[in-house]
Amino acid sequence: MKLVRDFIIKDISSVTENSPVRRVIKNMRLHRVSIMPVVNKLGEYIGCISEEDILEAAVPDYMKKIYNTSFMANIDQIIAHLTQILDDKAIALTDVNYPYVTPDDSLEYAADILYRTKGNMLPVLESKKLVGLITLIQILSVSIE
C-alpha cells in the first residue's frame, strides 16, 4: 500500500489567521497555488483558504441569486467588493472543515477525499502541525512512474 508519507511535498508555506486577505492573494499568486493552509500563532493548523473561498466572499449575495450570471459581465462589482475585504482577516474566509490527511494515511484515501471534494491539494498534518502537502497530480503521476 502506498502511503502519503512517501509522496508528501515538504512545503509548509502558510498564512496566519490574522493575515489580511491581501496577503493571502499575494502569497497564492507568488507561490502559484490556489489554496493556502492557515495556522494560528502557535503554528497549529486551523484550516485552508482557497481562491474559491475568496471569490465566494467577494461576489455580492445578490449576484449569487441571479439565475443568469452573465449579464453583469461588463460591471466590475466583484473586484469592487473584493477591494473592500482585502483587509479582512484570513480566518474570516478560512474553511475550517477543509479535509486533511496524515503521513500514515494511504494514498488511496487521499485520492478518494480529493475526488469527493473536487480539490487538488490536501494538507498533511501530524498532531496539529502542518508537515507538507499532497497534490492530486502527484497521485495521478504514480500511475505513469
Partner: protein, 435 residues
Amino acid sequence: MVALASNIFTFQTYFALAIFVLAFSFIISEKLPNAVAAMMGGFLLLAFHIIDQEDAVEYIDFDTIGLLCGMMITVAVLRKSGLFEYIAIKGVKITKGNPWKILVVLSIVTGVLSAFLDNVTTVLIIVPLTFAVADTIKINPTPILFSEILFSNIGGAATLIGDPPNIMIGGATHLQFMDFIIVNGPVILIVSVVTIFILRLIYYKKLTSIQVDTARLMAFDEKRTIPDKTMFIQSMVVFTLIIVAFVTQHVHQVSLASIALGGGFLMIMVTRQHPEEILKEVEWPTLFFFAGLFVIIGGLEKTGVISMVADKMISATNNQMGLATQLVLWVSAMCTVFINSIPYTATMISVIKDIGEITTGNIDPLWWALSLGACLGGNASTIGAAANIIVAGFTQKTAWPIKFGQYFKVGFPLMLVSVIIVSVYLHLVFFFWGS
C-alpha cells in the same frame, strides 16, 4: 343541521380544532416547516380516525395542487430562457438611471410578472436584480424593495394564477381565469396607480436628489441574459399557448390543473429539458403543505366547526350579502397582516362554500372579497406574505436590511388605502350598480 352542528361539540370536534390550532401556531411561529406541520396535522386526524382515508383524499383539492405544480414546472423552464431578466434589464435601461423611474419600472415589472407567476418566484428574480442595480449606481435599494413587495402582492391579485389565494379560490370554485381579470383587474389597476402616487409623495424627492452614474447602468447587457435563442422562442410560444388556454377556459372547459400540467410538460418536451432537472425546481414542500392543509380543514368541515363559523357569519351579517362581503374583505385583510394567507384562505374557502350551501343568494362577492382581502392584506407587514418574507430575509445579510417597523410604517397605511378602495369598488360593482 347547522344548528345541530354548532350545538353538539364532541371529542372529534375538539380534537380537530386542537390539531388545527396546533398546526396553525407551528406555521405562524415558524417552529416547524409549513409542510411538516400541515402533513403531521393531517396524519394525526387520520391516525385518530377523525376522518377516514377516502374523506382525506376527497378533501385534497387536486385541481389547486395540479395548477400550482403545473405553473411551477412552467416557470422553471421559463426562468432558464432568461426572459424575466431580459425584461427587467430592458426596463431599467429605459429609466436612464433615474432612481425614481427605476422604482416605477421595477414595480410595474414586478406587478406584471406577479400576475402570471408565483409572487415568490417573481421577487426571487427581481430583488437580486434590484440589488445589482442599486449597487451599480450606489443608491439605497430600500424604497424600491418596498415598492416591489407591494406590487408583487398587488399584481398577484389580478389573475387566477397570480397568488396562492387566487389559485385556491380558482381551484375550489366555478370562477374562471377571465372572471378574475374582469373583476379583480380594474380595481388592481386603480390600486396600483394610487399606490404609485403615494410612493411618489414619500420617495420622489429622496430618490431624485441622488446623483447617479448612468454609464455604469448602461453596461448591463440584456442580450447576455438569453443563453439560447431557440429555447427562448420555444418557451415563449408554449407560454403564450398556456395563457390562451387559461383565457379561453370558459369555451373549452378543460380544468386549470390540466392546462397547467399539460402546458408544463409540453414546455419540457418542446424545449428538450431534462425532466429530473425541471422537476427538482418544483417546490414540493409547498405542494405537501397544501395537501396537509386541505386534510386538516377537511377535519374541521367534517366535525362541524366550519359550518358553525359559517353560521355565525351569516347571523352576524343578518344574512345581508353586502355586509358579509365587507366583513370577509376586512377580516381577510387584517388576518393576513400577520398570518400566512394560504392556511387562512384554505379555511375561509370551506367557510364560504358552506355559506353558499346555506344561503340562497349569490356568494360570488364573497369570493372576490376573500381573494382581494387575502392578497392585499399581506402588504401590511414584512411577514404578511411569502414574498415579503423572502425579500426581507434576503436583505438581512446586506448593507440595507429591512426592519419590520420600518416597512410597517409604509406597508400598513398603503394596505389600508388599497382595501378601502377595494371595499368601495366591491360595493359599487355588486351591490350598487349590480343590484
